[in-house]
Symmetry: C2
Subunit: 378 residues, 2 copies
Amino acid sequence: MPMSPPAKPGQSFAEIDTPALILDLDAFERNLVAMAAFAEAAGMRLRPHAKTHKSPEIALRQIAHGAVGQCCQKVSEAEVLVAGGITDVLVTNEVIGASKLDRLARLARDARIGLCVDHVDGVREAAEAAQREGVVLDVLVELDIGGRRCGVAPGEAAVRLAEAVARHNSLQFRGVQAYHGAAQHMRSIDERQEAIERAMLSTRNAVERLSNAGLPCEIVSGAGTGTFELEGRSGVWNELQCGSYIFMDADYARNRKADGTTFDSFEHALFVLAGVMSKPVPDRAIVDAGHKAAAVDSGMPVPYGRSGLIYTKPSDEHGVLTGDPIAVPHRGDTVLLVPGHCDPTVNLHDWYVCVRGLSGPDAHVEAVWPVAARGALT
Amino acid sequence: MPMSPPAKPGQSFAEIDTPALILDLDAFERNLVAMAAFAEAAGMRLRPHAKTHKSPEIALRQIAHGAVGQCCQKVSEAEVLVAGGITDVLVTNEVIGASKLDRLARLARDARIGLCVDHVDGVREAAEAAQREGVVLDVLVELDIGGRRCGVAPGEAAVRLAEAVARHNSLQFRGVQAYHGAAQHMRSIDERQEAIERAMLSTRNAVERLSNAGLPCEIVSGAGTGTFELEGRSGVWNELQCGSYIFMDADYARNRKADGTTFDSFEHALFVLAGVMSKPVPDRAIVDAGHKAAAVDSGMPVPYGRSGLIYTKPSDEHGVLTGDPIAVPHRGDTVLLVPGHCDPTVNLHDWYVCVRGLSGPDAHVEAVWPVAARGALT
């Protein structure tokens, strides 16, 4: 049973129950437009990552702005996306075991479905599942281009794996997954440039070897919100799989541009609205949003538009706001927090409370969208 | 929509899909018995905290072992508990705003319901809500006994607040909430003893002043899994509100006893079962459980029964297992992880997969229980 939504469409901002996950629709829509414009100017396809938002509502808006489909990480996310009307879904991940592969193959009756492989057993298992369901699955070979997570080395191993894919009628080799996760959160542009430059050389090498082996890459997919401008201008990648750009969390906001200023391509559009439960002393207020309302794996949530105030010492259901007493809110007040990390924060909530005119006097709830793939783990 | 359960009753352990939240029923039942025996020997009432488990199934088993009811932190948790048949629920927290208070008061038609206050406005608001619903709410005055979170100073402020409670016919003053959260995870017994000794003096002072003012404390509630033996032997507290003892996470296992050995009153009973997706090199395997399957706010998950193996570098849907190549599992293997912090880990899952005989050859799924109050934020 999902929990009841903390607000209803038509309510004023002040009527939203706390804690709640707030989507600033105006900022969100500007973020959609900005990324679509970048992709178009760069001649890149955009396939945003649904692991960030877990919402067909958001996916459909990205597609309306030109995205070619969606990425996701889990079969259960793909199930929610296809049920929500998305017709082109790429699982940017290995899928292990017949049970998950059969579920994935079943989706290919209604949508174009792809997955990644980094082992020859994965190729065989995917082919068998597709054959059992009478479908064809798209397959990308995942390259390790520096992230040291999954993926094969971007040389002969990739060619051998692609050849294995090509031997199965129930699989279609589409290209390579070349995502450098570790580069996304490097703080300086120099670090990110160096990482993506190396990743580019590796990826180009693999793409050329595949092409020479008669296996051209229709899709060279990668990039995140921290580096997409680099992949976008590389001439090697042709699909961007950024996710966080629609929300912009506090951690991405710590990335720096060449001139040392903060990253400003996108606006903060996602917040946790917290309520003040107690103000025991003038320089400390306790809010009702802790670990179960905002993920802290990439740092603390940051109070929004409240200079002199910091969020600290989260426990499961509490957070502490401290600072200059004049900045510390009072019992019954609410505070917007920019999550440290948007993806796992979204995954804690059942509902997006979509607010129009957030910064103005007529802020109101325009819609409430389910976080439909929240908890989609398998 | 909750996700489909990753297993069905009757399945073998090997058939459980990953990632999954595993409850070792044998260890869990021994933990239930151990805490019940302690409480009985100490002459204490036990009111375990449902913020840990969020499950009426577990609450009912605690009550069958002698617990007097349940604690929780949120009105929405109380709603799930009462709907699940729990008839005595204490919200160990301030409840702010008429909307939440009305929901709480409504529950008092079907169950004994209490809450905490630390401000005179909270007293008035609770009284008004109870009056609107025609019920009586139990009220505890929350004391700050060193945790520096919510709560009033444990002296005259507590007496004044209790007097305010006593002036309302729709409220019943029951005693004090005196929980020292910060003491639970102090590593040495000396630190914990010193913190609880001070907390004891503060709490005793408040209880005596209240008694002298004609407001005896029927309930003096506090303690967690890190310190309950100290509160239990203090002669000041009479209710224990421990939660984590039923599961025992990796962080509590780092607490030390007087002789320097690890805390061993309870067994690890909660795990995240992760599947290996990839083993790109001999000393590194990638599992399918990251930030969305196991909370890392109190440290990394710890591989269970696998010496020489560590879990590191979690990302949203991946974790890295590294170590001696002989210890690193293979693609398709599964690994049990002891969560760093049980409460927020449970809150990531929709289902407990309850396993009987976990450590033996006949390990099987005996039941699947919903994490019924998962996401209960308001």
